[in-house]
Amino acid sequence: MKPAVQFENVSRHFGVVRAVDAVDLKIEPGEFYAMLGPSGSGKTTCLRLIAGFEQPSGGHIEIFGETAEGVPPYRRNVNTVFQDYALFPHLNILDNVAYGMMVRGIGKAERHRAADEALELVKLPGYGARKPGQLSGGQRQRVALARALVNKPKVLLLDEPLGALDLKLREQMQEELKSLQRALGITFIFVTHDQSEALSMADRVAVFNNGGIVQEGTPQDIYNRPRTRFVADFVGSSNVIAPEVMKSLGGEHRWASLRPEAIRLATEGGVSATVAATSFLGAGTRITAEVNGTRLHVMVPAGEANLAVGTPVRLDWSASEVHYMDGAA
């Protein structure tokens, strides 16, 4: 089967700014793919290249095996959920959702019926007569989703669609998006700067930096085995340890990452440290301990220890938990 989206050495330059630089990627049909990175890393430009709002300066893009360069957005069977939803303010919700069918010349009765069904799918039945301005952020987000999905696109692009929602709603929408994607089997490509969102939702994650993909893999891969210091810094709450410190702690003279959960408090052995700060996180307590001039985060289960700042502790971990990586930013 042909990949849903394929980039071969794709670049997009704006003058001297290389927004996207020589990117290769392959997204399989039915995959939930996340593009993760800080702002300005090129992830949104990649999405816009797939949607057709941008044309590549170089390279080759295929969507389901067909060349996409020079094809305008309205001829691509790809739909986008925009960051701020981009609902048409002069149309009611039903006509917003039916817009794609309207411009394709589908009759009023049929497109309104399909739009009603789509609104039901996103749990907004009976909202058709309202105007976008009368809806809350979460509801508008669902309308934007219905408006895109109702056209049964081959690929659905989501540009930070949960960014404007509050935490509770965001978590709820994450689950709903995931189950919706499983039920529909449509390829979802999702842009976000929120690492927990990317890790919890995606089948595969591409970490972007400076216009290129730094690492691509499953969420577990990215989290447990960051390839570079940048990925470890950006993706995880992992401890990133400089080569000199790692050596002094009994490891190799290389950049390393060590997950806070992998460190435990020991009564003897290990390295000696001092508690610098503690924060209570509900399910556990995160201790910041100072070791040889470096601060390490240690995650201990709730109720295990109640340590005052300044208490001397011993930290221990098994050598196999230490993950060595490339020092590149």
């Binding site: 709002f53 981009a86 609902l87 048409f88 002069h90 817009y99 394709r104 408006r147 895109a148």
Partner: protein, 325 residues
């Protein structure tokens, strides 16, 4: 306790929770206005509302009142009795022709202005940035800085038989085209400067900025991602224009058309300088209240644009032109 007593003597604390009043007349006034915001609003609005209500609207009503009087045919004196006979006079063919001529001209000028203004406004709102935007505003506003009369007389020279336009047509070997246009019935004439076409061109020129600016302001408020969303959902550029851009820009175009339409309805200088000698409403008002001394008829004539504009706006509202506001 002793520490406090030592460091905090009886003088007021250096950093009190409530600061003392600023004092003076303006300090007291600020506090009063803050406590009574409605009073402030009233004082702010009273002078302009008085001006608008009494001098502006009041005099307009006084004028309208005149239209319900009539004139005594023999003495030429105004009969201050309520009558609709002046309005009936408007329907006399010679007067009704004036109204019809003016309304058709205003409609054509408005449509042309809208069509010409849209691409300019679209470019300015969507693409022009920095220096080019400044250049755009300058280009639009510059003609407004010079006297209206100068511009109209300049156009009279441009359109005259001996003018630059005739010369340009001749140089391009297109004299036959100009002659053909001038040979058209009704709108043609001896030269452009004494034809309806000439009047129309000058009207469009003079009122165009009033159409461009509101259209540009409306287009400026259309978020760029709505255009992208429309295209993303499968709409061709033509469909995006019809279903997204035009409905959202319509309030601006309507605002512009209020200017171009009403300004054309009321103008009496342009048709007098450039055009055939047939009267427009503005000229009729001028003639009736001046030389003819028929103030009631002049007043009745000036009611016509008001009624037409009211009908126009009512229809626009019915058609949903302001839904996107």
């Amino acid at each position: 306790m002793t520490m406090t007593a030592m460091t905090m003597p009886t003088t007021p604390p250096a950093n009190p929770a409530i600061l003392p009043g600023r004092g003076g007349f303006f300090g007291g006034l600020s506090d009063t206005f803050w406590r009574r915001p409605k009073l402030f609003l009233f004082l702010m609005l009273a002078p302009p509302l008085l001006w608008l209500g009494v001098i502006y609207i009041g005099s307009l009503f006084a004028l309208l009142l005149q239209s319900f009087f009539s004139i005594d045919e023999f003495s030429g004196l105004i009969v201050r009795e309520f009558t609709l006979s002046t309005y009936a006079e408007l329907l006399r063919p010679s007067n009704f022709d004036i109204i019809l001529r003016t309304v058709i001209m205003a409609a054509l000028v408005t449509i042309t202005s809208a069509v010409v203004a849209f691409p300019i406004a679209y470019y300015a709102a969507r693409y022009a940035r920095g220096k080019w935007k400044a250049f755009f505003y300058l280009g639009i506003m510059l003609p407004l800085w010079s006297s209206y009369l100068v511009k109209v007389y300049a156009w009279k020279l441009i359109l005259a038989k001996e003018g630059i336009l005739t010369w340009a047509f001749a140089k391009l070997h297109l004299t036959w085209l100009l002659d053909g246009i001038l040979a058209l019935p009704v709108v043609g004439g001896n030269s452009l400067s004494i034809s309806y076409i000439g009047t129309y061109l000058v009207f469009v020129y003079v009122w165009l900025p009033y159409m461009i600016l509101p259209t540009q302001a409306a287009l400026e408020r259309v978020p760029g991602n709505l255009i992208e969303a429309s295209s993303d959902l499968g709409a061709t550029p033509n469909q995006t224009f019809r279903h997204v851009l035009l409905p959202l820009a319509l309030p601006g175009i309507i605002a512009g058309s209020i200017f171009t339409f009403s300004l054309t309805l009321g103008d009496y200088i342009i048709p007098q300088i450039v055009g055939s000698s047939r009267l427009f409403i503005g000229q009729a008002v001028y003639a009736q209240q001046g030389t003819a001394g028929n103030v009631p008829l002049a007043a009745a004539f000036s009611v016509v644009p008001i009624v037409i504009m009211a009908i126009y706006l009512w229809i626009a509202k019915k058609k949903g032109a302001f839904d996107a506001l």
